[in-house]
Symmetry: C2
Subunit: 152 residues, 2 copies
Amino acid sequence: MSNASRAIERFSRYPLGESQSVHCPVRDVLDRIGDKWSMLMIMALAMRPHRFSELHRAVNDISKRMLTQTLRDLERDGLITRHVFPTKPPGVEYRLAPLGHSLLEPMAGLIDWADRCHGDIHAARARFDGTPGDAARQAFSTRSKVSTNRQG
Amino acid sequence: MSNASRAIERFSRYPLGESQSVHCPVRDVLDRIGDKWSMLMIMALAMRPHRFSELHRAVNDISKRMLTQTLRDLERDGLITRHVFPTKPPGVEYRLAPLGHSLLEPMAGLIDWADRCHGDIHAARARFDGTPGDAARQAFSTRSKVSTNRQG
DNA sequence: CTGCATCCTCTAGGATACTG
DNA sequence: CAGTATCCTAGAGGATGCAG
C-alpha cells in the first residue's frame, strides 16, 4: 500500500499526455511491450535461447512476418541479441540481452497482477454488463460487445 | 536477479500464444493497459479523483471520444468508479477503485524501468541504426524508419 | 531454415457535429 | 458539462510467395 503511494509520488513527476512531454515513460513502455507479441517473445526467451522456428512454435499463432518484425524491434532496442550460425541451412539464435533481462521483474509483476485479479475483473465485468442502467453507456465500451450473451 | 528467476519460473506456467491458451495473463494485461490511454488515465486518477473535463485537461491530447471510451472500459473492468452528481450542468467524478489501486504498484515498476533504461535503449538503437550491416534488416523494423537520416 | 516483399483487411483512434 | 453518433484514416498485423 505504501509502495503504491510511492508509485503515485513518482507519477506526479511526469507530465501526462504526449505532445508536451519531453519524454513520457508511459509511451516508452507501450512502445516496447504494448504491442501484440513483444511480451510473449520476452517470456519465451527468458526461459532459454530460442531459434527462429522454435519461437514460432512456442508462440504458435504469430505470423512469420510479425515474428521477424518483433524480433527486429527488440533487437534494435537492445532487449535481445541475435546470433547467426552460418551452417548449411542457416541457423539463428535469439537470446535475452541484459537489458531485456532487467525487464523481467517489472513485467512479471504486471503479469502476476493480471493472474491474481483475473477473477475480480470478470466479476466486475459481469456486474457492469448485467446492470440494466443505460444500454448506451455499456454499448460504448469497445471491449464489451462479446459477453452480451447473457440470457438472450 | 533472483526475483527475475522467480519471474521466469512463473512464466513457464503459462502457455504462450493465445489460440490454445485457456487464459493468457499477458493478453489480460495488454487488453487492460496496452492501449493508448489507460495507463495515463490510471496515473491521473491515482493522484486524486478527476472530473471528466479535468481528465481531458490532464491528458491533453486525447479526444473526447477516446476519453469516454477508455473511462467506460476501465469502469467496466472495475478499475475505476463513476459518480454522477445531478447538478445543474451535470458533474461526473471518476476515481480509482480498489482493483485499480492494486494495479499502481506493478504499473509503477514498469514505468520506473522505462525511465531507468531510457538511455540504454536509445544507445542500443543508435548502435543498431548505425551499424552498416544490412540495410534490409534495419528497415524491416517498424519503429525505426525515422532515424534513417544518416549520411543519405 | 530464416526471413524479406507484397497485398489486403480490420480496427484503434482522431475530427466533427449534435444532445440533455 | 458530459457525453453520443457518424464518418474517416493510418497503421498494425495476417496470408502468401519468393530467396539465400
